[in-house]
Symmetry: C2
DNA sequence: ATATTTGTTCGCAATATTACGAACAACCAT
DNA sequence: ATGGTTGTTCGTAATATTGCGAACAAATAT
């Protein structure tokens, strides 16, 4: 009934469905990458909460983390970012 | 910290974050309007569940309902649809 | 070895989401 | 008036989300 494209689009949209995650993605796409600590300094939430939001974005495939001990460098997952962009574009240009 | 645009974008994205709601919006934008009953016939969910999803989309401002007794005609809310489109476009074209 | 930095995981709580069936309200037709 | 159609609302249940602090793990620095 509901196809895979619709499910993937909904999955991406769900990941975008929180102000903090929008902010994180905007930050990442403006400066290509950043560290979790950079975000903790700016955002008025506990680091454990931020960690959950980052996990949410990771699970959705929109970002990826690279260990740069002792920190973790987060970047946009360009491939999936592109897919989300295309799915949303197709959706709105119906 | 987090501005109004980011909140509105997250609000729209959240509304798009379920396959059923994606399907409903696609249907509505392809045929401009439709009745709730049309969707109930196609979708494998209870009518009360569909009603909840429609309410969700209405609360987010993406659709609007017009009484055509005894049915209700649902249409895209073009103004807010446009806003969502522009916010998402700006977001991905960063 | 010990302490510091960085970020995740755990435990908990409050609230939201998703889903269903039954009951209800509004309107039309007979 | 009685019955049929349409869709919402209510009650309930299971699960997910959001958020915090404390505890933990991994690596570096002293």
């Amino acid at each position: 009934m509901i196809n895979d494209q619709q499910k993937r689009l909904a999955r991406y949209a769900k990941a975008l469905g929180h102000p903090v995650r929008i902010f994180v993605l905007q930050t990442l796409s403006l400066q290509s990458c950043c560290y979790s600590g950079d975000l903790t300094e700016i955002l008025p939430i506990a680091k454990s909460t931020l960690s959950q939001h980052l996990k949410e974005l990771k699970d959705a495939g929109l970002i990826q983390g690279e260990i740069e001990a002792p920190r973790i460098k987060y970047c946009i997952n360009k491939e999936n970012w592109k897919e989300a962009q295309l799915l949303l574009k197709a959706f709105f240009d119906i």
